[in-house]
Amino acid sequence: MYFILLSIFFPILAGLFLLIRFRTPLSGEKAGTDRKPLLVLTGIFLVITAVFAFAAPLTAREGFTLFYLTETLPIYFRIDSVGQLFSLLAVIVLLCAGFFSFSYMKHEERESRYYGFYLILFGVLNALCFAGNLITFYLFFELLTLSSMPLVLHNGSREAIMAGLKYLFYSLCGAYGALFGIYFLYQSCDTLTFTAGGVLKETAVTQHGGFLLLTAFVMLLGFGVKAGMFPMHAWLPTAHPVAPAPASAVLSAVIVKAGVLAVVRITGYIFGTGFLRGTWVQTVWMCLTLITVFMGSMLAYREPVLKKRLAYSTVSQLSYILFGLAVMNEASLVGSLFQVLAHGFVKAALFLCAGAIIYKTGKTRVEEMRGIGKEMPLTMWCWTIASLGLVGIPPTGGFVSKWYLALGSLKSGLPVLDVLGPIILLVSALLTAGYLLPLTIHGFFPGGDYDYSGLQKKEPRKLMTVPILILTSLPVVIGLFPDTIAGIILMAVKGR
């Protein structure tokens, strides 16, 4: 219990400490030459938090109530396997991106604010993973939006502020949709504690099942905003690219997964898959995810700015996960959760690569990056391997997840969608290759007319390359041992 609390409140307090201790300079002056104390402290805080977050699941399995918001709404924490899986992803990505920022943020202002909110975000994410009931989850879901917003509007430009506001409003609208659902669930459930198989009352299902379906749909749409599901996806390609690159990595790899976790929780642990399977909600939801998958890939394919392209790719890839959740059978759920890990690592790695390129060369558009592989070979190799992981080439994790997703869809026996699903996934995989690999191709093979004389060695420092290397190798590792990982996930799905 103490480790759960520590993993949540230690980083939040540490973040507040950084915000207060390292004063933000009043005007646009550079944050001073002496960055060392800030970086050392942040590094120590990050590592300690990671240790707490790792230790928490090992120590306590039973839940506990922190306090009561109202008589019937406890703030309750409990660790289960799904939460643990998401927490694992969050910790690894946040650590890697955090250390990457130490080098990257050198050219940005107001670093203390960035690290302060970064740590707060860490705590909130831990809390989300360990939340044991819907109201606790909702509480930290709101806080997640608020604590991640400063990262989006970090550079303070008009564009960033508008993007931050857009992010805020989409998220708040979504969260209200979810809250709307909670109001009703409050009446139709005995408890809002996450329980595998759902907590709906029998009587409520028979009396107003139709209305509950509508509630479920509104909640899916609401939480789906965070996961960038069509039709509420527009904030994502605006907000993610304007953040500093490591923050974009965290936003795209982890924070959007909070939306996924929310959907896992409400479908599996509140409504129960038995209640939703075979209803109109499932059908509509699947259609929406397939539209998102295809549309996201198409938009990414046509996007010239690298980070925007990656953001569109996030839109598309997240809906793979949501598609798997919508199919609601064992294989598809395994595929989804596998994709959560695979996409998390890959997308973080890709954004960090993009960050390294921006940091070293200042280039943001894809067509400017011809010959980049000659200048930054290590980074571009990582980019290539990570890209293959996203496309789904064996032996990467992306292949395994897509395999399970297709399998689950074909087994589901839903009319039309069972075959249409895998087809769209395949087409989108082709598009993924189409928008990621040109960078590799033109990067390493700039063509005959390319002028090689202007090339310099631009490989970034170890502080940047090591996190990228780690994040690139992880999807390959999980792809090499799919059985072990799938076994763990299967246990999680079965609700242990």
């Binding site: 009043l26 909702y138 609208c173 109001y183």
Partner: protein
């Protein structure tokens, strides 16, 4: 009869007479008297509240020991004592938070006048809370109006005089309508005492007599109090009155004065007309519709506003809308939500007004958003406080605003016909609130180049910063441990019946 039962009477008289005393005292002493009186009344209310919670039933106090038709009655229950205590806390914090601005806002020679008005206001609020007699209520409504007008006008710039005149006209219209309603009621029932009127009304309803005059009387009283508490569309007086008066006045006016009238309306609903009879009329539907409209149009006006004080003032229109929506639901749960929102809004809105003054002070006194850019860095305490208030207004969990939204929604779910409308409007209003409050928060935390204004540190404003801290704590306390408060409200409403 226990000695504590005298406390309501003491509180009213103490604040009334301290007002008179203030007129001959120098400004400094008047200020001290004002503070002491507020604390004393607050303590008495707290003791009274504890006493009532322990006995578990309300009591009626005869002024001068004359029984009803000749003497005047005071009634105290858990809700009344709780309200009085809460009003004192907010009033003290508002006065403390605005104290450092007073010399700049009001001419030196009028300072003791200012404290007279505040004491009078407190006494009239207490009387509205405690009285059991409709005519006394009317008298103190007038006293309240006059002192509120004085509080607006005491800062003598053109806009405040205009605002005060506007406020006067609208308020007098309101009290006039209240008086009409009262007269008709007196005519129908022959009583002025709340409990007696209620009996007669029940008899009239049972006999089916004078239905239409009765409804007209109730409607007139409702409209009168709606105008005075600035329910949409009677809110035209509000933005100027709150926007240009002294900062303490703005905080007090928005969080206490309008709430006093609303509390009187609750008393009328429960103790004069009877909750069930009131709910069987169409009046609640009207209140419901105007409440919903207020929630949306108040926020829309706030979004368009380019002046931070007026923006906060317009947001009050929306929040008052919430309270009337709760009335309009016509259920016990709706009423509980409304009463909780009275507390929550009072705590938040005064916090916002006090925090806003800190921000405008470090921006050369300008209230335009463009000048407020980066103000939160120049006055950190005010920035944090404003952010906390905004989060509460938007309804982020852990702040009081979330609990009131939760209570409203839970109440709405139980009312078949009004459920969808209330939930949708709650949603729209949440998003609209977020638009203008978060926009402001981002604005004050944006650093854009060299700022011409200098900042302040904790040492320059200890009292102010501590006040803000207490306000934030009050908000968080209401948001985190709301259950005892809600239980108290439920108990208090049960005592009303």
């Amino acid at each position: 009869m226990n000695f504590i039962c005298n406390f309501p009477f003491f509180s009213i008289l103490l604040s009334l007479f301290s007002g008179t005393v203030c007129s001959v005292l120098p400004a400094k002493a008047a200020k001290a008297v004002n503070r002491v009186v507020i604390i004393a009344v607050g303590l008495m209310s707290a003791v009274l509240l504890l006493y009532l919670l322990s006995t578990g039933e309300s009591f009626i106090y005869w002024m001068g020991h004359f029984p009803a038709p000749w003497g005047n009655e005071i009634r105290a229950g858990v809700l009344e004592a709780g309200m009085a205590l809460f009003f004192c806390i907010i009033m003290y914090l508002s006065m403390a938070g605005g104290a450092h601005k007073l010399p700049g806002e009001v001419v030196e020679s009028k300072h003791n006048l200012y404290y007279i008005l505040v004491n009078l206001l407190l006494s009239s609020l207490l009387a509205l809370v405690y009285t059991n007699d409709m005519f006394t209520a009317y008298v103190f409504v007038e006293i309240n109006t006059i002192s509120a007008c004085g509080l607006i006008m005491i800062r003598q710039v053109g806009r405040t005089i205009e605002a005060a005149v506007r406020y006067m006209i609208m308020s007098l219209l309101g009290s006039g309508l209240l008086l009409f309603g009262l007269c008709i009621m007196y005519d129908l029932t022959g009583h002025l005492l709340m409990s007696n009127i209620k009996e007669s009304v029940a008899q009239l309803i049972a006999a089916g007599e004078y239905q239409i005059p009765l409804i007209v009387s109730v409607a007139l009283m409702c409209i009168g109090l709606c105008i005075k508490s600035a329910l949409f569309p009677f809110h035209a007086w509000l933005p100027d009155a709150y926007g240009y008066s002294t900062v303490s006045s703005a905080a007090i006016l928005s969080s206490l004065v309008s709430k006093g009238y609303i509390f009187l309306l609750i008393k009328i609903i429960y103790r004069v007309i009877g909750f069930d009879i009131f709910n069987s009329t169409r009046i609640i539907d009207v209140l419901f519709v105007f409440g919903l409209m207020g929630m949306i149009f108040g926020s829309l006006s706030a979004i368009k506003e380019n002046d931070i004080r007026r923006m906060i003032a317009f947001s009050s229109v929306a929040q008052i809308g919430y309270i009337y929506m709760g009335f309009g639901m016509g259920t016990q749960a709706g009423m509980v939500a409304s009463v909780f929102h009275i507390l929550s809004h009072a705590a938040t809105k005064s916090l916002l007004f006090i925090a806003a003054i800190g921000l405008t002070d470090v921006s050369g006194g300008s209230r335009k958003f463009i000048d407020l850019t980066g103000a939160a860095y120049r006055n950190k305490w005010a920035g944090v406080a404003f952010t906390a208030g905004s989060l509460s207004m938007v309804g982020i969990p852990l702040f009081s605003g979330f609990i009131s939204k939760l209570l409203f929604a839970q109440a709405a779910v139980q009312v078949e016909g009004k459920m969808l409308a209330s939930l949708i409007v709650l949603g729209i209003s949440t998003v609209l609130n977020a638009i203008y409050f978060m926009k402001t928060v981002i604005r004050i935390y944006t650093t854009a180049g060299e700022s011409p204004y200098s900042g302040v540190t904790f040492r320059d404003m200890k009292a102010y910063a501590v006040t803000l801290l207490f306000f934030i704590l009050l908000n968080v306390a209401l948001g985190v441990s709301s259950q005892p408060v809600v239980n108290m409200i439920e108990q208090g409403l049960a005592m009303f019946a």
